[in-house]
């Protein structure tokens, strides 16, 4: 109000007039001296205007066809930007303040926007498929388990939350797969996101399934290999190999359960049969 003391002394009339009634048109669109204020009329008009915009925003998404559609994003964003700047300019009075305050606020706003957009681009957009992202960044390493025995493997980083890493289901299965079960394993069922099978899959989160076809026959007394594998797919929490013999230090039961729970509903009985058959074949 008194940020420009010379003003008050030199032009008392103009200052006074502006206070009494800046005029609705001049208040919203005109150039007005620093420190002008609106009254019930100006702020009331703005409140009604903002209320109408909110109503319009709501009406835009009332038709069911438009709910969640890409078409409404631009109009909704534009309307909210209008509301945003109306509140900032008039309710927060920034139109009538020293320009330094604009600069400070806009600087923060732009930085905030840059942070938000960068994060979204970094984690949400520049990631054609999570699988491609991982495979581009896989690290080759050699590991000597014991004297004379040599293991080579690839560590595949998981750049995103488990479940988001499910690769897109290949249409008609991958040409390279030797059986429908293997196609499912590396494709639609996404088992390969977490499990390793030499020459087929390089997942590092779940236990390796190398030789599971023969190993599973002896895991639980009284279970056939097929029973064991089927149960491990359908009810992964009944028996977890890693916990029993302490092989897997990083075993995370909740992670496994939630991941498997996300995958299972998408699989038909035939899919499960094909997977079991494929895993049994791994000797």
């Amino acid at each position: 109000m008194s940020s420009n003391p010379g003003h008050e002394g030199a032009l008392p009339h103009e200052e006074h007039d502006a206070h009494a009634d800046a005029g609705v048109g001049r208040f919203f669109f005109g150039r007005v001296p620093e420190g002008v204020h609106g009254g019930l009329k100006q702020y009331g008009i703005l409140a009604i205007f903002l209320g109408i915009i909110t109503l319009v925003e709501f009406l835009i998404i009332v038709p069911e066809g438009l709910q969640g559609s890409a078409v409404v994003i631009a109009p909704l964003v534009i309307l909210s930007v209008i509301k945003f700047f109306c509140v900032v300019a008039f309710f927060m009075h920034l139109k009538f303040e020293h320009e330094l305050l604009w600069q400070i606020f806009v600087a923060g706003l732009v930085l905030g926007l840059v942070v938000a957009v960068s994060l979204v681009l970094l984690f949400g957009v520049f990631r054609p498929t999570p699988r491609a992202f991982s495979e581009d960044r896989q690290i080759h390493f050699e590991h000597h388990v014991e004297e004379g025995h040599h293991v080579e493997a690839l560590v595949v980083p998981t750049p995103c939350p488990v479940g988001a890493c499910l690769p897109p289901a290949p249409a008609g299965g991958s040409g390279a797969a030797s059986s429908p079960g293997e196609a499912l394993f590396v494709g639609a069922a996404a088992c390969s996101s977490c499990h390793t099978i030499s020459g087929v899959a390089q997942g590092v989160l779940g236990p390796s399934l190398d030789g599971i076809g023969s190993a599973s026959a002896n895991r639980i007394p009284g279970y056939s290999a097929e029973d064991y594998i089927r149960e491990s797919i359908l009810e992964p929490d009944v028996y977890a190999a890693g916990t029993a013999d302490g092989l897997d230090q990083d075993y995370d039961g909740n992670l496994m359960l939630s991941t498997m729970a996300g995958i299972l509903p998408a699989l038909s009985d035939e899919d499960i049969d094909a997977l079991v058959e494929y895993l049994l074949s791994l000797q």
Partner: protein, 234 residues
């Protein structure tokens, strides 16, 4: 220094007659408290920007329900958005009353602002509780944790603002001699309006656009929109 003070300093009673806000001469001509509030609001943009970005990054990444479409109630939130918007209107009228030195109107508008703000918090408590009852807890999925973090911090801002406004109202009602000053109310108003503009963004992104996301495929439309935009430039 000593003579300057004795010759030019106004007598004690004259200095006391001026409210402190008018005495303050700063190099920018802007009151320091007001400048500081704007700096804080500028930095708060970064805080909410990051939380909003986190929500957008994890949008459509949940692998278990409930998903937004199962649980978000857009009509009710439209009403609560309107309530918060009107509280901003009441706040700006309180600021105008404080500037005009109308203590009675100031108290009235402040009380009106508090009622509307508390109404908004009431809607949020109702919503959070409904989500909890329907099985959406903080740790349920990526949607719930990012949603509760973002809207929870916003709700905390509103609650803090309410506390501030209650204090101002008590001061205004008890002490009619020029306190709180126009500046005191103005600064509280800036904070309050900022909370409103943050909600404008949240309402659009989380409710109007993101509120219909169903299942793990959600956010696909946004992706298509994005690809459409980038397609124009390539």
């Amino acid at each position: 220094m000593a003579h300057v003070d004795t010759t030019h300093a106004p007598p004690e009673h004259e200095a006391a007659a001026h409210p402190p806000a008018h005495e303050e001469e700063t190099t920018t001509g802007i009151n320091h408290r007001k400048l500081l509030m704007w700096v804080f609001l500028g930095s708060d943009c970064l805080f909410f920007g990051s939380l909003i970005a986190t929500y957008m990054v994890y949008r459509g990444q949940s692998i278990v329900g409930p998903y937004p479409a199962d649980i978000i109630d857009v009509p009710i939130t439209t009403v609560s958005t309107f309530v918060l918007l009107m509280s901003s209107f009441a706040m700006v009228m309180a600021v105008a009353a404080a500037r005009n030195g109308n203590q009675k109107r100031l108290v009235q508008w402040l009380v009106f602002t508090i009622i509307l703000g508390a109404g908004f918090i009431g809607f949020q408590v109702y919503e959070f509780n409904l989500f909890r009852v329907e099985g959406l807890r903080y740790e349920t999925n990526l949607f719930s944790s990012t949603f509760f973090t973002l809207t929870g911090f916003h709700g905390a801002h509103v609650t803090l603002g309410l506390f501030w406004l209650v204090c101002l109202t008590i001061i205004a009602a008890r002490n009619p001699a020029g306190r709180p000053s126009g500046l005191d109310v103005d600064i509280a108003g800036l904070y309050w309006h900022f909370v409103d503009i943050v909600w404008i963004v949240i309402f659009t992104l989380l409710y109007l656009i993101g509120g219909f996301d169903a299942g793990p495929d959600a956010g696909h439309a946004a992706m298509q929109g994005w690809q459409w935009i980038t397609g124009i430039f390539t």
